[in-house]
Subunit: 348 residues, 2 copies
DNA sequence: TTGAAAGCGCTAACAC
DNA sequence: GTGTTAGCGCTTTCAA
């Protein structure tokens, strides 16, 4: 009468959540729990007759393995943790969706955390995930420097891959797009359409993508004779920042020929505000974004943008998480090439 | 030499993920593991001096409790499972974000699953969550009838709350908005603005919200003399469905005065396509949505819509999950009143 | 092939 | 107030 279930067998079942354990299955099948375990897992040969009996007993009792116990015993939870700066950002949403899908395909689950763009919260969430013995961690560190300790700590105890953004130093594997290439394609496109004075509205360079895209922008413009930087507006990767930048640009009375945005959220806000101000896109000014979130095709005019191959990024990340932990293998960086999607916001 | 950590103490530490256990802390502090546990948890009085020593030992060893072991022992994982039809849908994204936030506030984590609008996948995900001994489950069942078994199974073994959609029968608690009220407000508003012929573009009534909103629409129109149903287009809650409906409506050459959409995604697609076809909103036709997702304020024209108080819904859901399991308390239904947000898509 | 038993890391009786 | 000990449910030696 040791287990909760045998209490149930006495007719004193306290609640329906009193589930059958492997003990119950073994008893019912008339074998030891070891044999029951072997039969159920199929990882070891068992007499066919015995296997059948165990199988049937399990079904009759509606047996469900307790994965918590399996995890404690087997040192693997089959849970992967994920920390993103903001679940609500459509780009991160896409990534979360893709990672969850890939994990589900291999019987793993996703423990999702939102750091709310705050390194302190992020550090706490990472710690909580580690205490939960996650098998791996996917993180988009919100700050290139302030997030270093959290990422380091994660990497010390569990396979960790940074996605999209990364922290300073070669701390862990990283998967993302080649921002330089993406920005280059966008600037080349804008220049080809005749833009001479190009503005950049992006994120403040606390996160790596914000910085890298800005720098790539500067280089891309500098590399093109006749093209100059009309303005830079740095804030966060939000719709609101886009709106603000649009108002300022418009108020300055000196619109550039084209505006490249650090991400689509910014571009969406910018487009909205430009329209409200009566500025015509692309006639008066061309606008391009970065990410290709779902809504990019729905703005008016539809947004030209640099598409991130999200499913591929997710697959690479999950693959790295599972990769054989080659002893002291140096961190790798996988930069997938993005493609420019040309829509009406940059062409008549 | 029983624990992995004592292996480490022998200098044979195999990997840095060889974490200190409570045994190590106890040994270092010179107390028993029970005392260490008590000191660390603070749930029982301990001599101040001893408490200090344990605390220090824990810090020095960088001790982290193993929550898997705590869960196995304590019958609580502090993990809540969540299953939604589609992570990518902005409305569900908002809900996930809000639930995650509320859970984090009470030291719990969110195990997120996407059923991809498929009852079979949904059932598998629910089962996986139950095997993981989640403390509770929040689910938006994709189908009012096909999802019944999965929801029932969940409810049998763990506190479960349905959010937004629900299945037939009083199976579990439910939290959502009062769809009837929301649709009524929208129809009243459209009628007030002079609409006589009103169309409905919504979801096929497999999910509960789709059905309820459609029925509420029929009733609301019927209750208003002079107002009639111009058309019904039922599909899924997607942008694409909205686009398709707009094309059909336009091709029919007989536009209604106003269109109420089953959700904002549909409305966004509809607005896009109407604009492409040269139909003016709201001059030629008014359009209203449901949910008030972030982009509703960013469409052109901005979308009038029924706002769901997402943070409140999430808070209620989390509260119900934690509510004392009054024995055989009948399931409750919490229907929060939504508010109509009037924007330019229905008024000049 | 099968069973007995150890033990994953932790908490809570139960003694002292 | 502190230590000893019995498990939580499972998998995997190690013997038989």
């Amino acid at each position: 009468m040791r287990t909760r279930s045998s209490r149930g067998a006495l007719g004193k079942r306290l609640s329906s959540s009193d589930r059958a354990t492997i003990h119950d299955v073994a008893r019912r099948a008339g074998v030891s729990i070891a044999t029951a375990s072997r039969a159920l897992s199929g990882r070891r040969r068992v007499t066919p007759d015995v296997a059948d009996r165990v199988q049937r007993a399990a079904e009759e009792l509606d047996y469900r393995p307790n994965t918590v116990a399996q995890a404690l015993r087997g040192q693997s939870t089959r849970i992967v943790g994920m920390v993103v700066p903001g679940i609500g950002d459509p780009f991160f949403t896409q990534i979360v969706e893709a990672v969850e899908h890939d994990l589900a395909g291999s019987g793993r689950e996703l423990l999702l955390c939102d750091s709310r763009h705050d390194p302190a919260i992020e550090a706490r969430r990472v710690r909580a995930l580690l205490e939960r013995q996650v098998d791996g961690l996917v993180i988009t560190p919100c700050d290139a420097t302030a997030s270093v300790p959290a990422v380091r700590e994660a990497a010390r105890s569990v396979p960790t891959v940074q996605m999209d953004r990364y922290v300073e130093g070669d701390v862990t594997d990283w998967v993302g797009v080649d921002d330089e290439s993406g920005v280059n394609q966008a600037v080349a496109h804008l220049a080809d359409r005749g833009a001479r004075r190009v503005a950049f509205v992006g994120g403040a360079p606390a996160g790596s993508t914000a910085r890298v895209r800005l720098e790539a922008f500067e280089r891309a413009v500098a590399a093109r004779p006749g093209v100059t930087v009309a303005a830079r507006a740095l804030g966060d990767f939000s719709v609101e920042h886009g709106r603000r930048a649009a108002r300022e640009l418009h108020a300055s009375g000196d619109l550039p020929d084209a505006i490249l945005c650090g991400n689509d959220q910014i571009a969406v806000g910018l487009l909205r505000e430009l329209r409200a101000a009566g500025v015509r896109v692309p006639a008066d000014v061309s606008v391009a974004g970065f990410d290709d979130i779902g809504y990019a095709a729905l703005t008016d005019p539809p947004l030209t943008t640099v598409r991130q191959p999200v499913p591929q990024l997710a697959t690479e990340a999950v693959r790295l998480l599972t990769a054989p932990p080659a002893p002291a293998r140096p961190p790798c960086r996988i930069a997938v090439s993005p493609t420019l999607v040309i829509r009406a916001s940059t062409s008549p």
